[in-house]
């Protein structure tokens, strides 16, 4: 049974040997010349004019976090929509359940709003 996997093993060994072999080869054989221009980060041909480490305002992170939360909400809504028509015949429960879910998220939204998470200034 294991015999069937032999080609995969050979392929794996070959891949490793080839990949590391090439890396080692270029490390030992390749010529290396350093210069100031080469050491600079490439920024689409424009000369770098400041440090790459800049402090971002925390507001960006808050916006990103909020985006993820409401994005995940949509992820839950899609499968619900797909099965809605078939399952709603068994009762209104599936509708109420989603209303509860959205209301809980709206409470979170209201909280963020009042706390000033959406104010940029």
């Amino acid at each position: 049974m294991l015999k069937e996997y032999l080609p995969i093993l050979i392929l794996l060994i070959f891949a490793f040997v080839f990949a590391f072999g090439i890396l080692l080869l270029s490390h030992f054989v390749g010529p290396r010349k350093y210069s100031d221009v080469k050491g600079e980060p490439y920024e689409s041909g424009i000369k770098p004019f400041m440090d790459a480490r800049v402090r971002f305002s925390v507001k960006f992170y808050i916006i990103a976090v909020l985006f993820i939360i409401f994005d995940v909400e949509i992820v839950f809504l899609y499968p619900w929509v797909v099965v809605y028509k078939e399952i709603v015949s068994q009762g209104i429960f599936i509708f109420i359940e989603m209303i509860v879910f959205v209301v809980i998220l709206l409470i979170g939204y209201f909280y963020l709003w009042k706390r000033g998470a959406f104010e940029w200034e």
Binding site: I87, Q90, G91, F93, I94, I104, I107, F110, Y111, K114
Partner: protein, 483 residues
Amino acid sequence: MDYSIPTINLSVIGPEIIILLTAVSVLIIGLFPNYRRWSISIVFIGIIFAFYDIYYLWNLNQVGFDGMVLADNFALLFDIIFLIGTLLTLLLSGNFINQYIRGTGEYLSLILFATLGMMLMASTNDLIVIFLGLETLSISLYILAAFRRSREDSLEAGLKYFLLGAFTTGFLLYGIALIYGSTGTTNIYSILNFLKDGSVEIGILFYIGMILIIVGFGFKAAFVPFHMWVPDVYEGSATPVTAFMSAGVKAASFAVFLRLFITGFSPIISQITGILAVLAILTMTVGNVIAIVQTNIKRMLAYSSIAHAGYILVALTALSRNIESEFSAASIMYYILVYTFMNIGAFGVVIYMEKSEEEVLKISDYAGLGFKKPFAAICMTLFMFSLAGIPPTAGFMGKLYIFSSAVESELYGLAVIGVLNAVIAVYYYLRVVIFMYMKEAVLDFSYLSARPVMALSLSISVGGIIYLGIFPQSLINLLTNIL
């Protein structure tokens, strides 16, 4: 494809729903500074309603959500323990809330969300829901630990707790996955049936999964190789949060242990008695020995809480040896209830001693308290006696039950080691009492004013440990019949 809606029975999670609605409403009310002062009253009303609902559900043994959630008396008893812990903590939090008045809504709702997670953990029959409850509990506690966000030690506590907690959650989830892989179910009763059935051999993966689950909850309950976070987190968090954490999380973890051991894993649990015994000995000994050298009272109580987890583990070991023993299970539940009273009470006196801007945490600061503030000192003395296990307090009865359950299961060595540990513990508990009554005061206690609400909480705790210490029999009878 056919879809069917599972049978839902919302009344099963009635107490949980009440707590959730309360938490959400205080979160909203906290946003309006004019109405903020009402939030604490709303929390108390919510907790009273939850108690009433538990009283209503008692003895009904309801099941809902396709058998995933159940409200048997075991779950309801643990709900009561969690709610008592929450109530006592909130009564002690007045000063803390006033310091962080803008965060009132967040603080109260996070405490309630954590309680909700604990209640869910106790009242479920499914490993996935246990995990869900644990995460609700843990995430709330990570935030609460870092609640004093302008202080470095609080942030350190929050981050440390979060990183280590997230790591051990991985262990727990992996354990659940392995058990699902080898049994094909996450339902605890189905796991029991699988083990009883015997037609399929129980593989090594099932045992690994069981051990990983014990590791995951052992972290939360602070068993000894997984205890490293406890002192730092307890010291860095605000003291009311520490009180809440020390009692509630431990109770929730042991609730899950009891549920898993008594139902799910019961046919094979006697095979891991040895592991549990080693954990119990390590936990008791390390906790007690390190507590001796502590000069900071919060760190001392942190190590003492590790040691108490060890005592409860002794009873759990006895239970695993003799799974039919209702007495072992009852002694665990009794000890958890008593521990809630005495530990939150001890932290309550620590909270009372705090100044508004700085904490008074050295044990030597308590010198002379006995004559300046007799009520606080008497409460502290009783809590220390109870933690040390001196009659007539409930701590004594709790230890008595635990060690006799170990003897009942013929674990004599474990019982002897436990008693020796209890003797070591007397030293550091009584040191606080000695400082309070036999040393000259170094601090001017004039900053301490009467705090009626806090006194109420301390009185409830003292009443609890005295009453349960003198009349334990009716409660023990109730607990033995609960399973």
